[in-house]
Symmetry: C2
Subunit: 343 residues, 2 copies
DNA sequence: TCGATTATTGCATACGTATGCAAAAAGTCC
DNA sequence: GGACTTTTTGCATACGTATGCAATAATCGA
């Protein structure tokens, strides 16, 4: 347990205290905002600390205060640029309050649960689940320990878990109307995974609205939120006897795959032969190569809401779960036919 | 410091010990691989632990052992899919050995240093720097504390810091040869930031090889590793009196911007009017929309090497810095003219 | 200048786990 | 069965910081 090898032990509060000629508690207080320390001694302490290159030991601090300033983030689809954006936003905004992200990135296929149990070991201040395959049981388990949990873009039947989501129903039904107004003949929906609640919600709203408009059978397929998965189901859809000429994909990322397959492998003209609409409005969607019509879902707003919920749950632990929805809008670009009577 | 509010205190080893009728040390040993515990008592303890829902407290464990099982990762360009891939790979591979990532994602413009000082507070087992604007001074400072540091894809004059890199020189000179063989008239290089060592190395190798081949003046611009930055300099290059007809971008991500601007804003035919070559071979490069000729730099191999170095530095703290290079290859696609005499 | 109030400081202990050491228990060998 | 080796266990303490409490120093009011 003694200092090892060459690496000299990092200086502690006691070291600083000795140098500054005060007690260890005084040093602790000097680094605790709002603690009772004389200005003069604080200066003395800070000077000594600087001299020694002292940095507080967060692990020890966490042990004593039970607050780690760490937020765990579970995420499966990092290759989807939308979630890369979410991570980025989250990281920057948490840093503003001195917090950091403990990342649990998992491949879409692997189950995330085992690793997530570790979360509890790190005494994280909160847990954010997004685009993850983690089970609901796990969420319940974490919640039982009192750790605030927020799901971003995840539907859940669990009443106790806070959720931040995009405008799933509104967007999907607007997209249904837009495509319908574009006089398409056959509609398809490419969802994420079969288990995904968010995907199901979008599917229901899309199919439901079309049905209201008189369209009875809408093709439904699942691209598992991956590029390859979406490419595969697109191939299948486009080789049907009656292939769709309007496809709504549950994410931009999958829509890119659909566009790619349609253009490259089926030589389809977009949007003349096929209209494709995505969801998220990731930066790449606006690029010429894709020029994807989509529905925006601002990552920044989702993240703001999530952090807000976390903060309120930390402030008032008893607080019941909250659900928030951020709004977006249909972004018109070139991948979907525009109705004649609309601009 | 007592248990707060409603949230019941998490069970500790002492709680488990009491229930199992053993000492706290016994419980600790039951959870320490290789420790001396009788099979029977271990079973008894694990049973009690399960019953209580006990999870070891990593913060306390870290305090006692000085190993956190946390690896800090500083990264600025998360929106670049190549680095998203790096993060993903890193996360999965570290998890195999029970480690996790503490993420420091920073926007390319903001300086990362202040946040990075926090790294030291968390007693991370290692620090990985990649695609970050963190200063060299900072790296030195971290290194002084004895934390193993590995840079991925970052050139550094500092002798003490380990580095894992792609085949910068070889790739750049091969690309120079390939473009030269394609009978281009005017060559340009779009690098990352001016400060980036990696970018400079690629520039030198590219420009140097071309010079050897008799091409004297090569245009050099900087896209700052961002999409918008690359788009801007591409615009500038293409409006020159003698615009380039061959551009080598220091990353696929920037190459996408170049392609976008060239096709959309300048109506250029690729590769007839303009050849574009990237670097990284991210998944999107192979997609029809881009079809980018590029040089592969396998994220998985970079990550493997980085972890390997970290492990060896942890095992032998005195070990001197290592430098590794992973290899890649030129990936021929449609964005660059192919020489007549080559397949 | 003195008593009362307030601000500052140090002492002692807690947070949860790991581990050296010695005691106890269990095997081993003849 | 006894002496000896090996395994298992508990005790005590360490890791670095935070904080309640009491002691001390500083400040204030008249």
């Amino acid at each position: 347990m003694r200092a090892k090898d060459g690496a000299k032990r990092a200086p502690t509060e006691s070291d600083v205290a000795k140098l500054a000629g005060v007690s260890q508690s005084a040093v602790s207080r000097a680094f605790t905002p709002g603690a009772s320390v004389a200005e003069s001694t604080r200066d003395k302490i800070l000077k000594a600390a600087r001299e020694l290159g002292y940095h507080p030991n967060m692990m020890a601090r966490t042990l004593a205060t039970n607050r780690s300033n760490i937020v765990a983030l579970a995420i499966s689809y990092l290759e989807n640029p939308f979630y890369a954006q979410v991570v980025r936003e989250l990281s920057e905004k948490l840093r503003e309050t001195g917090r950091h992200i403990l990342l649990f990135a998992t491949s879409p296929d692997g189950k995330a649960d085992p690793a997530l149990e570790d979360v509890l070991s790190y005494k994280v201040d909160a847990l954010i689940l997004t685009a993850t395959t983690a089970s609901h049981e796990l969420a319940v388990q974490c919640q039982a320990t009192g750790v605030p949990i927020v799901q971003i873009n995840r539907e859940s039947k669990l009443p106790g878990i806070s959720t931040v989501r995009g405008p799933n129903e509104l967007a999907s039904s607007e997209i249904a109307e837009f495509l319908f107004a574009g006089q398409h003949k056959r509609y398809a929906f490419i969802g994420g995974t079969v288990e995904s609640g968010t995907s199901k919600v979008r599917e229901n709203a899309f199919v439901g609205r079309l049905r209201e408009l008189g369209v009875e059978d809408v093709l439904v397929a699942h691209g598992d939120y991956t590029f390859e998965g979406a490419a595969t189901v697109t191939r299948r859809l486009l080789t049907l006897d009656q292939p769709p000429d309007a496809i709504f994909c549950a994410s931009d990322y999958m829509a890119f795959a659909t566009l790619d397959v349609a253009k490259r492998e089926f030589n389809l003209k977009v949007p003349d032969d096929l209209s494709v609409i995505g969801f998220d409005n990731v930066p790449a969607a606006s690029r010429f190569a894709w020029d994807l019509t989509t529905y925006s879902q601002p990552a920044g707003a989702l993240v703001d809401a999530a952090i807000d919920i976390i903060d309120s749950m930390i402030a008032r632990p008893g607080r019941r779960a909250q659900r928030r929805e951020v709004s977006g809008e249909l972004i018109l670009r070139g991948s979907a036919k525009r109705p004649k009577n609309r601009s």
